[in-house]
Symmetry: C2
Subunit: 255 residues, 2 copies
């Protein structure tokens, strides 16, 4: 198994994991992608559990997902994942989303860092697991979508501010990466999802937030159907601008 | 397969499906239970897909879950489900939650009605699928927890009011049954989950709510560590009391 550079994992779009249009929630797909990354890394000796033993962990920095279609309720689909590049401080991990016939219906790109759990400082990936992560680099497999880019938001007034609660928080005590995706899509009205679908969804994770933090959402419409969103915490008092937690670009297209 | 009255389904507690204490979210367990109910019914000829063909659907009326322990991150566990009783308008479906060694760590009881999709009126379960649902009744298997009871809430002032958004809504256009569980647990502070765990969680579903509805949460502490919660929509104007959407009883115990 460890010889194989590409991991492939099977899923079914569960009935309560689809939205009112009958298609998988983007957040549920994102969760599956993160799980696949975890399975793939664990099977090759550089998973979370192994890293924790040596006091390190993976941190998701960027995620971009592009889809031609989203699996519908009860559809089988699969996800392939592989490591495209390893640098000293970052690694690029790609994904293909395949429909039940094995045809690619979407791709994703992600960028990860490894940090020391005590210092929270980035660690050298080329030293990880005796440098063996580079044995799994697969550069031939296509991932024909753009890399995650820079996201800039200029809106000055938040369109929504929420508090974070118990259900937002993951095992590390941080707001779950996927929950930001959900809260961001919750900014859009019903009509958007009725008439359009998400063509591309891109996240840049900048800082952690915690239970009870107030998150403010700033949104620009950058082109017709394309939105840039910035999430900031701790706005107010001596810190009128707050601190950036994450940024997102979501592109809707006609169905 | 259809001969077997009890269905058994295997799960793993996924890393992003556990809370900050490292244990499965109650809402995720609830989702698994509903999926098991769906698999079990579908395999025996009275699942959602078959019912929709004849313009009927299942509606969850009550759910009560009682646990000695909650599966932890990466734990394997399984769920057994069976039909305990079928009446004209309701059916009782029970569940056992088993840990990785096959030892029961919890039980659940649920009550379902079948409704006509056009009239939204209840249908006669004894006529369903040629009356064959009664062939699957299993009365010998123990489910040693109390049946869902009556829940009464007397609080006059809501402790929180929220709007419902895209991520709350299921394929039928209703707020997802599981999302109510999440919003209800979000009423409790971090300290509650640090020092205690949920011993019993009980939901009574009364009416549907929809995207954009404002939900108000009324809460009584009925005994030490036991809370009764009522969720109401459309409060205000000519309707100062609003309409009851669901009620919940949650009992916390020391860890």
């Amino acid at each position: 198994m460890a010889e194989d550079k590409v991991g492939r994992y099977e899923f079914v779009a569960e009935p309560f994991h689809v939205d009112f249009t009958g298609h998988l929630f983007m957040g549920v797909l994102g969760n599956h992608l993160l799980n696949c990354a975890g399975f793939h890394a664990a099977d090759r000796g550089f998973g979370m559990a192994r890293l924790h033993e040596s006091n390190y962990t993976w941190v998701l920095s960027r995620l971009a997902v592009e889809l031609e279609e989203m699996p519908a309720s009860y559809d089988s689909f699969s996800v392939e994942t592989w490591v495209e590049n390893v640098y000293r401080l970052f690694t690029d991990r790609n994904f293909t989303i395949l429909n039940k016939d094995g045809r690619p219906i979407g791709y994703a790109r992600s960028v990860w860092a490894m940090i020391n759990l005590d210092t929270r400082k980035p660690a050298d990936l080329l030293e990880l697991h005796g440098g063996r992560i580079v044995d799994y680099i697969e550069t031939e497999k296509p991932c024909p979508i753009e890399k995650p880019g820079r996201i800039k938001v200029s809106a000055l007034v938040p369109i929504r501010t929420i508090e974070t609660y118990y259900s937002d928080i993951d095992v590390n005590g941080h707001v779950n990466s996927i929950k930001y995706m959900e809260h961001i899509l919750d900014l859009f009205p019903k009509e958007m999802f009725l008439t359009r679908r998400i063509a591309r969804f891109e996240m840049a994770y900048v800082a952690e937030s915690y239970m009870g933090d107030r998150l403010s959402f700033f949104r620009d419409e950058t082109e017709e159907g394309e939105y840039a969103i910035e999430v900031r915490k701790d706005i107010g008092g001596e810190n009128p601008e707050g601190e950036v937690v994450c940024r997102c670009r979501v592109t809707f297209c006609n169905k």
